[in-house]
């Protein structure tokens, strides 16, 4: 099957790949897939919520800024479990993040001195244990994040 027509594919026992249409709203598919994956791996509900929000924001960034809302583009999300970590790679077909947004300042936002938007990267940084931006690939860029689950509660994928 043409891999670009697949939505979800498993890569071995501990990895899953999700191909998303480049449309706002489809980040929910990646969120729910990540949540199921983390649940099976034994992550706690609060860490799963952190993961869902971080994945949603990374996908939104890829759809809006990386792929610039182009309908023919795709976002690929790859999940991997290893030991007590889930790593998520979100690939778009863009040129990478040229400039990371400044730290949000709520007072400046309320006083309309700073845009109310551009909170996604801030949320990702504060919800996951490790994040890397702008890893180049043949046809785009990857945002990689790692979320750790404190032991002991790993489930069937963690052994």
């Amino acid at each position: 099957m043409d891999q670009h027509r697949e939505l979800i594919r498993t890569n071995g026992e501990k990895s899953v790949e999700v191909h998303l249409p480049n449309m706002l709203g489809y980040e929910r598919v990646a969120m729910e897939c990540c949540a199921s994956f983390a649940r099976i791996a034994g992550f706690t509900s609060d860490r799963i919520e952190d993961l869902k929000t971080a994945v949603s924001e990374a996908c939104l960034n890829a759809i809006e800024h990386g792929n610039k809302l182009r309908p023919e583009a795709r976002v690929t999300v790859t999940l991997e479990i290893e030991d007590d970590c889930i790593s998520v790679r979100v690939k778009d077909e863009g040129d990478g993040i040229k400039e990371l947004p400044e730290e949000p300042d709520i007072v400046q936002k309320i006083e309309r001195l700073q845009s109310p938007r551009r909170l996604g990267i801030f949320l990702i940084r504060n919800l996951v244990d490790h994040v890397e931006f702008n890893e180049p690939t043949n046809d785009g860029h990857v945002l990689k994040m790692v979320l750790r689950q404190p032991k002991p509660s790993l489930g069937v994928l963690g052994g």
């Binding site: 980040e27 929910r28 609060d46 929000t53 300042d105 709520i106 938007r117």
Partner: protein
């Protein structure tokens, strides 16, 4: 894809409750501005934003809320928030929204504190 934001405005004795249903995203801007514009002088001084615990809220939706708070802050209105899951309570604190709108466990608690 997703669920459209719907906001029902309930007005009572100098206070309004925004019952927020559906996703809260960048597409929610018109729902929030329509609800805010529907307030008359009475009932506009204190506003409770009541979310559903299973709401999907993303950074675009938080930006819409910040725009609303910018407006209410300018108009010296008191805002309370309720109905959020523990996760989104954490996110709202992280972003700093709670510096401008306190979070309460129930609508009754919010009413008591805003009108007290």
């Amino acid at each position: 894809m997703g669920t459209e934001t719907r906001i029902e405005v309930l007005k009572e004795d100098g206070l309004s409750v925004f019952e927020i249903r559906g996703d809260v995203t960048s597409s929610s801007e018109s729902a929030f501005s329509d609800a805010y514009r529907s307030l008359k002088v009475e009932g506009a001084g204190k506003i409770i934003l009541r979310f559903q615990e299973d709401s999907y809220i993303n950074s675009g939706g938080i930006a819409v809320l910040i725009q609303l708070l910018a407006e209410t802050n300018r108009n010296k209105q008191k805002i309370g928030i309720t109905g959020l899951s523990a996760h989104f309570q954490k996110i709202f604190k992280m972003v700093g929204i709670t510096r401008f709108a306190a979070i309460y466990p129930t609508v009754e608690e919010a009413k008591k504190n805003l009108t007290g």
